[in-house]
C-alpha cells in the first residue's frame, strides 16, 4: 500500500513540478504599478522623455498594441513610410501641433482615429495621472522629433484637473447631444456633417430614415437589427452604451439624431 502511495505522490509531484517549471521557463512579465511622478515646472525634456519611456515600455502596457503596426499605429519605428511618431505627429491633423495632437490622442483617442485602425483605445486619464501622460507625450515626441513638452504643461494640466468640474446637468436641463457624441467617440465610426468614420451608417439624414424607437434600440441593443450594408461591422458597435449613458443623455441623443433629416 505504501508503495502505491509513494507512486501516487511521485506522479503528483512530477506533474506539479512540470507545470511550475513551464511557468518559470516562459518570459516573466509582471504588471508594475505606474510610478508616481514628481515632475513639476522645472522638469527638463530629457527628464520627461525618460519618464515617458518607462511608462511606454513598462507599466503603461503601450507596447501590447503599439508595436510595429499590428492592432494600433506603430509608435516604435516607421508607420507606413510616414516616419517615426515624433516626426509625423505634427502632420496628422490640420491645425494641431505635435504635442496637442498626442495629448488629444491619449486623452480623447476616439476624436481622431488613424485610418485603418479601430477605435479601441480608451482615455488614458482613467489609469494615468496628467504628468504621466505628458511624460508619454514627451517620449513619443523624442522618437524622431523634438520634445516641446515643458514642465509648465504639467502644472497647467494639474491645475485644470484640480479645478472644479462643471456640475452635472440638473434634471430637466438641456443636454448637449453633440457633446455626448464627442464624449463617447461616436464620430469615429459614424459620419456627421461630412466628417467622421464610415464603419457605421452616417448620422446625417438618420432622422429621416429611422424612428425614435429604432434609434433607441440601435443604441441600447445594437445587435438586434443591423443596417443594410454594415453586416460585416455589426460587432464593432459597443453593446454597453445602454449602461454607460444616463437616461437624460440617451434621450437627448435620440432626439438629436431624430432631428437630422
Amino acid at each position: 500500500m505504501w508503495q502505491t502511495n509513494l507512486k501516487v505522490l511521485t506522479v503528483g509531484a512530477l506533474v506539479l513540478g512540470f507545470f511550475t517549471m513551464v511557468a518559470h521557463i516562459v518570459p516573466q512579465q509582471a504588471s508594475e504599478v505606474p510610478e508616481v511622478l514628481t515632475l513639476g515646472a522645472g522638469a527638463t525634456p530629457e527628464m520627461l522623455a525618460a519618464a515617458g519611456e518607462k511608462i511606454f515600455s513598462g507599466a503603461g502596457g503601450c507596447t501590447s498594441c503599439h508595436g510595429l503596426g499590428t492592432r494600433a499605429p506603430n509608435l516604435v519605428t516607421d508607420e507606413r513610410g510616414a516616419g517615426p511618431i515624433g516626426a509625423r505627429c505634427g502632420k496628422q491633423e490640420a491645425g494641431k501641433d505635435c504635442k496637442t495632437y498626442l495629448w488629444e490622442a491619449l486623452t480623447a483617442p476616439a476624436a481622431f482615429v488613424v485610418k485603418g485602425y479601430q477605435p479601441i483605445m480608451l482615455d488614458q486619464r482613467r489609469t494615468l495621472s496628467v504628468d504621466q501622460i505628458w511624460a508619454l507625450v514627451a517620449y513619443l515626441e523624442s522618437n524622431g522629433g523634438e520634445v516641446t513638452v515643458t514642465g509648465q504643461d504639467i502644472v497647467d494640466a494639474q491645475a485644470a484637473a484640480g479645478a472644479p468640474k462643471p456640475a452635472a446637468a440638473p434634471a430637466g436641463e438641456r443636454i448637449d447631444a453633440v457633446a455626448v457624441l464627442g464624449e463617447f467617440g461616436c464620430s469615429a465610426c459614424h459620419k456627421l456633417k461630412g466628417e467622421g468614420g464610415e464603419i457605421g451608417p452616417a448620422f446625417d439624414g438618420m432622422g429621416g430614415r429611422l424612428t425614435k424607437d429604432y434609434l433607441r434600440e440601435a443604441i441600447v441593443d445594437p445587435k438586434a437589427k443591423v443596417a443594410k450594408g454594415y453586416e460585416e461591422n455589426k460587432d464593432m458597435m459597443p453593446v454597453a452604451f445602454g449602461e454607460q449613458l444616463t437616461k437624460e443623455q440617451l434621450n437627448a441623443l435620440i432626439d438629436y439624431l431624430a432631428s437630422l433629416k
Binding site: 506522479v11 506539479l16 516573466q28 509582471a30 504588471s31 511622478l37 501590447s64
Partner: protein, 564 residues
C-alpha cells in the same frame, strides 16, 4: 494638486487600509485562502451535480451501482462542506484584517447580498444533511424521486450561492459604467453591481467548470481506490467509477472553451484595454502555459481511453489508429502552444521585426489555434466513439451506411475547421473572429449527429463480449490522477488570470491598490503560489477521502453490482 500634496494625500489614503501578515505577506495569505476556498467550493458544487446525475441514472436504469456511487460521493461532501466553510471563514477574516478598507467598501455595497448568501448557505447545508442521511430511508418508489428532488434542490442552492459570490468578484473586474473613485458604495445600485457585464459569463464558465472538476475528482478517487483494491469485485467497481468520472469530466470539458470564449468576448466588450492586457499584454504567456495544461488534459484523457480499450473485446481492430491520433494530438498541441503577440521592449520588437515572431506568428494566430483545438476535440470524440463501439456489432440493415455517414460527418467537420482556419489568414481580424463560430458549430453538429446515429446503430446490436471491468493496467489510473491535478492547477492559473487583469486595482479603475503588493507578479511567482494551493487542497482532499473510508462500515457493503 502639487506633487508633495499628491503624495501626502496618497499616504493618508493608504494609512490604515492594509494589515500585515507574518512570513508570506498579506497578499499571499489572501491568495491562498481565496484559492483553496474556491477549490473546495468547486468540489462541493461539482460533486452534487455528479451525484444527482448518477442517482437519476440509477433510478431510471434500476442499476444499483449508480446509486451506490452517488451515495459514496455525497458522504464525502459532508466532510468537504466543513472544509469549504472553514476556508471561507479564513478568507473573510484575512480580508477584514489585511484589507479592511477594501473589504469595508465591498461590505457597504454588497451587505444585503451577503446576508442572503449566508442564509442560502444555511439552507444548502441543511439540504445536504437531509439528502445524505435520508438516502436509505427514502430509497424506493415515490420517496426515491423525492430524495432525488432534494439532490436537485441542493444544486439549486449551491448554484445560487455561487452566483451571488460571482457578483462580488466580477464587480471588482467590471464595475458598471459610471462608477468612479468618487462614487460612494451607497450610490451604486446593488442589482447593477451584482449583475455586471462579466457576471453571467463567469457564472456559466464556473458552472461547467465545476461539473468538469467534480467528474475529475471522482475519477481520481476511483483511481486510488482501484490501486488500493484487495478484491476483483472492488477493482471492477472502481474501474467502472473511474471511467464514469472521466467520461463526465471530459464530455463537459469539451464545452468549456466555448464558455471561455464568451467570457473573453464580454471582457473585450467591457473594456478593450483589459481584453488586450489579458490576451496580448503582460499576460500573453499565460495562455501558452494554459495550452500546455490543456494539451496534457487531452493526451491523458485519450491515453486513458486507449488503455481502456484493452479490456473490451473487439477493440483491437481500432488499436492501429491510435498512434496516428496521438501524432495528430501532439501536432495540434504544438500549434496551440505557439505564442503570437507578446509584451516586448522596443529593442526586442525591433530585433524581431514586430511584436510577433516572423515565423511563429503564423501558427500563433487564432486561426491556427482554433483549428488546432477543434481538431483535438474531434480526435478525442473519435476516441470516445471507438471506445463505445469496440464491443458492439450492429445488426440494423443500414449499419454499413450509418458508419459511412458517421465517417463523412467527421470528414466534413474537419474540412470546415481546416477551411476556415486557412481562410482566416486572408480576412480582417474582425471577420476572422466570426469564423470560430462556424468551426465550433461544425464540431458540435458532428458530435451530436454522430452520437445520434451511434445510439440508433446500437439498437438490438450484438455484443462482441462483455467489458472486463477491473482488467485495466495500473498506469491507466495514474492518467486519472494527472487529469485531476491538471484540472486543479488549471483552476488556479485561470483564477490568477481573472484576478490579475485588474492589475493594480482592487476594483478596476475605481479603487486603486496602494499596498506594497499592488503590482501583479510574473508567471513563475504565480506558479509557485498555484502549486502551493494545489498541494494544500489535494492534501486536505486526501484526508477527506481517508475520513470517508473510515466512515464506511461493514453494514454499507454493497450488493453485487449488475455490471461488475
Amino acid at each position: 494638486m502639487t506633487d508633495p500634496l499628491y503624495l501626502l494625500q496618497a499616504a493618508a489614503d493608504t494609512a490604515g487600509a492594509y494589515g500585515r501578515f507574518p512570513g508570506i505577506g498579506a497578499r499571499n495569505a489572501v491568495w491562498i485562502a481565496a484559492q483553496v476556498h474556491l477549490m473546495f467550493a468547486a468540489f462541493v458544487l461539482g460533486v452534487p451535480m455528479f451525484a444527482v446525475v448518477t442517482e437519476l441514472i440509477g433510478i431510471v436504469t434500476k442499476d444499483y451501482k449508480y446509486d451506490k456511487m452517488s451515495k459514496e460521493f455525497t458522504r464525502l461532501l459532508v466532510f468537504a462542506y466543513s472544509a469549504t466553510a472553514l476556508w471561507g471563514g479564513v478568507l473573510l477574516f484575512f480580508l477584514t484584517t489585511l484589507y479592511p478598507k477594501f473589504w469595508g467598501y465591498m461590505a457597504r455595497l454588497f451587505g444585503p447580498s451577503m446576508w442572503v448568501y449566508i442564509g442560502i448557505f444555511f439552507f444548502e447545508s441543511f439540504t445536504l444533511y437531509l439528502y445524505y442521511y435520508g438516502w436509505d430511508r427514502w430509497n424506493h418508489g415515490r420517496a426515491k424521486w423525492g430524495h432525488w428532488g432534494l439532490g436537485v434542490l441542493l444544486n439549486v442552492w449551491g448554484t445560487t450561492v455561487m452566483f451571488i459570490a460571482n457578483g462580488w468578484l466580477t464587480f471588482m473586474m467590471s464595475p458598471p459604467a459610471g462608477v468612479t473613485a468618487e462614487t460612494l458604495p451607497e450610490q451604486i445600485g446593488l442589482a447593477n453591481a451584482l449583475m455586471n457585464m462579466t457576471w453571467m459569463p463567469i457564472n456559466i464558465h464556473r458552472l461547467i467548470g465545476n461539473a468538469v472538476f467534480g467528474g475529475a475528482v471522482v475519477a481520481a478517487y476511483a483511481g486510488y481506490r482501484f490501486l488500493a483494491a484487495k478484491t476483483d469485485e472492488e477493482r471492477a467497481h472502481y474501474d467502472w467509477m473511474g471511467y464514469v468520472g472521466n467520461f463526465i469530466a471530459i464530455s463537459t470539458f469539451i464545452v468549456l472553451p466555448f464558455a471561455g470564449y464568451y467570457l473573453g468576448r464580454e471582457i473585450y466588450e467591457y473594456n478593450q484595454t483589459m481584453g488586450i492586457t489579458m490576451m496580448g499584454g503582460f499576460m500573453s504567456w499565460l495562455w501558452i502555459v494554459q495550452a500546455v495544461l490543456i494539451g496534457m488534459l487531452f493526451l491523458a484523457a485519450n491515453y486513458y481511453l486507449w488503455l481502456g480499450m484493452g479490456r473490451i473485446p473487439g477493440a483491437e481492430r481500432f488499436v492501429p489508429y491510435t498512434k496516428w491520433m496521438l501524432l495528430l494530438l501532439l501536432l495540434c498541441w504544438l500549434v496551440w502552444a505557439t505564442p503570437h503577440t507578446m509584451l516586448a521592449s522596443r529593442e526586442e520588437m525591433a530585433a524581431m521585426g514586430g511584436s510577433s515572431h516572423p515565423f511563429l506568428n503564423v501558427l500563433g494566430l487564432m486561426s491556427a489555434k482554433n483549428t488546432a483545438v477543434n481538431i483535438m476535440i474531434l480526435t478525442t470524440f473519435l476516441s470516445f466513439l471507438m471506445y463505445r463501439r469496440a464491443n458492439v456489432r450492429p445488426t440494423v440493415s443500414w449499419a454499413k451506411n450509418g458508419t459511412l455517414v458517421q465517417g463523412a460527418m467527421f470528414g466534413l467537420a474537419a474540412a470546415v475547421v481546416l477551411f476556415y482556419g486557412v481562410y482566416g489568414y486572408f480576412v480582417e481580424s474582425i471577420v476572422r473572429i466570426g469564423f470560430s463560430v462556424y468551426q465550433v458549430a461544425a464540431v458540435i453538429l458532428c458530435i451530436v449527429g454522430v452520437t445520434v446515429i451511434d445510439v440508433l446503430l446500437g439498437r438490438g446490436a450484438q455484443s462482441r463480449g462483455e467489458i472486463r471491468w477491473g482488467q485495466m493496467p495500473d498506469r491507466s489510473q495514474y492518467a486519472l490522477f494527472v487529469l485531476a491535478i491538471t484540472f486543479t492547477w488549471l483552476m488556479g492559473l485561470m483564477g490568477f488570470a481573472r484576478s490579475g487583469i485588474r492589475q493594480h486595482w482592487h476594483v478596476y479603475e475605481v479603487m486603486r491598490d496602494t499596498s506594497t503588493y499592488a503590482s501583479t507578479p510574473g508567471l513563475g511567482y504565480a506558479a509557485n503560489m498555484i502549486t502551493a494551493c494545489v498541494v494544500i487542497f489535494l492534501s486536505l482532499v486526501s484526508v477527506i477521502f481517508w475520513l470517508g473510508g473510515l466512515a464506511e462500515s461493514a453494514a454499507h457493503k454493497p450488493k453485487p453490482a449488475s455490471g461488475d
